[in-house]
Symmetry: C2
Subunit: 300 residues, 2 copies
């Protein structure tokens, strides 16, 4: 089962307490695609400028990601983001944001992609997320991410989107903002009542919570000392989760839980190096080995 | 196997965003004892003034807690603490602390208790924790809690204590302070290298992490919407954990993991009402039913 992702394509400058990297590739669709590529064929829709490094497109192709939907705008510049992490890596400050070609992103789903029935709408303008859904009337499972900006500024459009979704993935602060509830269990239920069949709240180093009509559970993150660059962890989590669902072509409770676990693990690898560098070296065998450890950790 | 706990006995004033309760019983040894009482005979060593409500001592006795070691100082006042919780219940402010009789606490372990071989030293002056250990040369398993004050002010004595312990239980901020490490996995390993055979880092609503020479794992908290008063959650966690270890009289990896899970659950019940009110209504059946749910939540 193939998987479509629509999201940002970016060139990032990242500063951590111990290192600094400039002009490395990033963006939600990139982190998502590498993570999902371990499970299924990923079809990527996004926009970049002609400063976009072709080696990233090649690296995606090597991992089996179909990049026909990656539009390169001649004369345009790729979305740029700069961030600096705090001493404990748990907080970050945005140093700059330059929307560039992402500002006028009008995603067109290539004809070839319209048969995809598993879809991930990475964080973006809700109106644009709607437009993508309009082009994919046959999607079985559509999951979206969002952020504080849209919760605050585009609430009506976001509310309408929530009613169309199979699943919503967002972080703890966003879940609290969306629902006005402090307790995350309450927030998860409230968010689900807004439309999506399931909600996943990402808690960073503390794991993730899952909410459906009949199930509420929390899964811890894989504990690691090796955190080099947390950028893209959330998108990598979504990539692992959606990739596994597309691979299995099943969305029952058991498969969803396994998918969440895989998401936790793809994220745990993604943070081990800058950009998608760790994902480029990763193998499915390493992923499955870590899954065995993770299962062992949770069984008692 | 019986379990000895040495810790504070207190009378608390608690303010949450929705309620206020005055002169309710608290203190580490009280929260610990109620939680542990579901598993084994608890022997409590502590000190209170003659303002201590006898109904709490009776409630402890009804739960099978041996209170011979509870000294009542005639003319003295019980330790008092007042705290106010933030809107999201995750932070609290100390409104007042009156040490009273706890300030001169010189624990004497009754002769009858000296055969206890499972011991918990709740947060207290390290020098006093040493004195308790001196009176229990036959203890098989001694676990202690500590806090920022002793890490900052009594470091030498605390360092010497760590070398004598089987286990150390502390929260995430304390683990970071003790080790100077931001990453909690690294902090857990460093703390273990300071002496204890195992270390448990409590992360509040995010669960707990376990570190021994050969094992590192994290267990999530039981997700609950029903948080009325978080006071004593950490002590209640320790009570469930130590109570189960004493019940099983085994300290192997498998039993330790089950013990951690029980600690998570006693804590999840403790926060459902003020003081130990929920624990007074709790049954072992309810605990085991929640354990079944917790196991199900973690299995996939």
């Amino acid at each position: 089962m193939s998987l479509l992702v629509v999201g940002s394509i970016g060139i990032d400058d990242i500063e951590t307490p111990t290192a600094k990297r400039e002009r490395i590739y990033g963006g939600s669709a990139i982190h998502f695609s590498f993570a999902a590529s371990f499970f299924t064929t990923v079809r990527l829709v996004g926009v970049a400028g002609d400063d976009w490094p072709s080696e990233c497109t090649e690296a995606l192709s090597e991992r089996g990601v179909d990049t026909i939907g990656l539009q390169i705008k001649p004369g345009g510049k790729t979305f740029r983001w700069g961030g600096k992490y705090s001493e404990d890596m748990n907080e970050r400050e945005t140093l700059f944001t330059e929307l560039n070609v992402l500002g006028e992103f009008d995603p067109v789903v290539p004809e070839l992609y319209r048969s995809c029935n598993v879809v991930f709408l990475a964080n973006g303008v809700p109106q644009v997320q709607h437009k993508v859904m309009d082009q994919l009337p046959g999607a079985h499972l559509t999951v979206a991410d969002t952020m504080d900006l849209w919760i605050n500024m585009q609430r009506e459009s976001l509310d309408a989107l929530l009613k169309r979704l199979s699943g919503l993935v967002l972080n703890d602060a966003e879940a609290r903002l969306l629902t006005g509830e402090h307790n995350l269990v309450t927030a998860g239920h409230r968010a689900r009542e807004m439309g999506p069949k399931f909600v996943v709240i990402k808690k960073g180093e503390h794991g993730a919570m899952f909410f459906s009509e009949h199930e509420t559970y929390v899964m811890p993150a894989y504990p690691t000392e090796n955190v080099v660059d947390p950028t893209g962890a959330g998108d990598s989590f979504a990539g692992g989760m959606m990739g596994y669902l597309a691979e299995k072509n099943a969305f029952d409770p058991k498969t969803l839980k396994e998918a969440l676990a895989y998401g936790m693990l793809t994220a745990s690898f993604n943070v081990e190096d800058f950009s998608s560098d760790r994902m480029l070296r990763l193998t499915r065998e390493e992923l499955d080995q870590r899954m065995a450890e993770y299962r062992k950790m949770l069984s008692f």
